[in-house]
């Protein structure tokens, strides 16, 4: 750096140096000795085109440019706080996010965790090769619906994949979903009554308690029971 400062000192004493010494190119006119280096440099800019900014040329330091305008937003600030993304950060990075797609869309039927490439159902293929279709959706007429007359009976095994659901975890708190039940064959009135009666019979809590009490009584009155002294059963049994 001392060489740069001393160069200006040489110009003052020895006269203006040639263009090659200063590195500004050829064909520059000679400047009279009494003029300082500042005017010499200014003339160089006029003829050779702006090599550097005029502000920098007027300063005593070589290649000293103006400082860039300070940007308010730099990497020095916490950008997550700046853009109010703390809540989002805590939500996604604070808690563990589950890996599978079925955890994001639990209500979606079918095997959605398998890669889309396997069954040619990838979104990427849809973007790269969009299906050719008309602009509008029109409902099917009677004639068109004749094409949807199906054979009776179950599907062939090769087409039954969509009904295979991934094993769902049993939740402790069972949420009642609003989804309507699968269409079941209509039950006959007699069957439904019989089933209801049978179900009611089994679910009655009083009957369960009675069964437990009977079991206890049997155990007490059995010869193998250790505490058996022939005493009458206690009045604490519930009926």
């Amino acid at each position: 750096m001392t060489e740069i400062f001393s160069l200006y000192g040489q110009q003052d004493s020895q006269g203006p140096a040639g263009p090659s010494a200063l590195g500004f190119g050829s064909g520059k006119p000679q400047v009279p000795q009494n003029m300082g280096p500042m005017c010499f440099q200014h003339q160089m800019v006029d003829e050779g085109g702006p090599i550097r900014k005029p502000a920098a040329m007027n300063e005593p330091f070589y290649l000293l440019r103006e400082l860039p305008l300070e940007n308010e937003l730099t990497g020095h600030t916490n950008l997550i706080t700046h853009y109010n993304l703390e809540h989002a950060y805590n939500k996604f990075c604070g808690k563990k996010v589950k890996e599978k797609l079925s955890n994001f869309l639990p209500e979606l039927p079918g095997m959605i965790d398998s890669p889309g490439i396997q069954d040619n159902s990838s979104l990427r293929s849809l973007i790269e090769k969009p299906p050719v279709c008309n602009n509008s959706f029109s409902p099917l007429t009677g004639a068109m619906l004749t094409g949807f007359r199906l054979h009776t009976g179950p599907l062939p095994e090769q087409y039954r994949l969509m009904h295979i659901q991934p094993p769902k975890k049993k939740n402790k708190h069972k949420h009642k979903h609003l989804r309507p039940q699968d269409p079941l064959p209509p039950e006959t009135p007699s069957d439904s009554d019989h089933k209801k009666k049978k179900k009611k019979k089994d679910d009655d809590p009083d009957r369960k308690k009675k069964k437990k009490d009977k079991k206890k009584k049997k155990n007490r009155h059995s010869p193998d029971h250790p505490g058996m002294t022939g005493a009458q059963p206690s009045g604490s049994s519930l009926r």
Binding site: G75, L101, P154
Partner: protein, 134 residues
Amino acid sequence: MAEKFDNLEEHLEKFVENIRQLGIIVSDFQPSSQTGLNQKLNFMISGLQDIEKCRQQLHDINVPLEVFEYIDQGRNPQLYTKECLERALAKNEQVKGKIDTLTKFKSLLISELGKVFPEEMAKYKAIHGEDPPS
């Protein structure tokens, strides 16, 4: 903003449910199910019409293509958001480190230059002003 997403979500849920029921009818088809099947097919078309109507409200929504990669692999798309935030934070910290290091370097350089070239540094400070303390 959330309303248009709720609207689309509702239509999509109805559409998916309709398709699911269609699949159940088809899996064990009976002649009496033909009317129901035809109804479900027309519901499917009306569902697609409703979804297309939602498109106008969402024309300004952009979805990054990388999210589709996650979905195609059967992964949770929230993982993409998580990784974006983590990468942004990591890059933020990296750039902050660079800025802090360069600021310290600048202040050290100016102080050392001031010791070696006091007059020139005084001229420099007169031009650029005093540097803020690092």
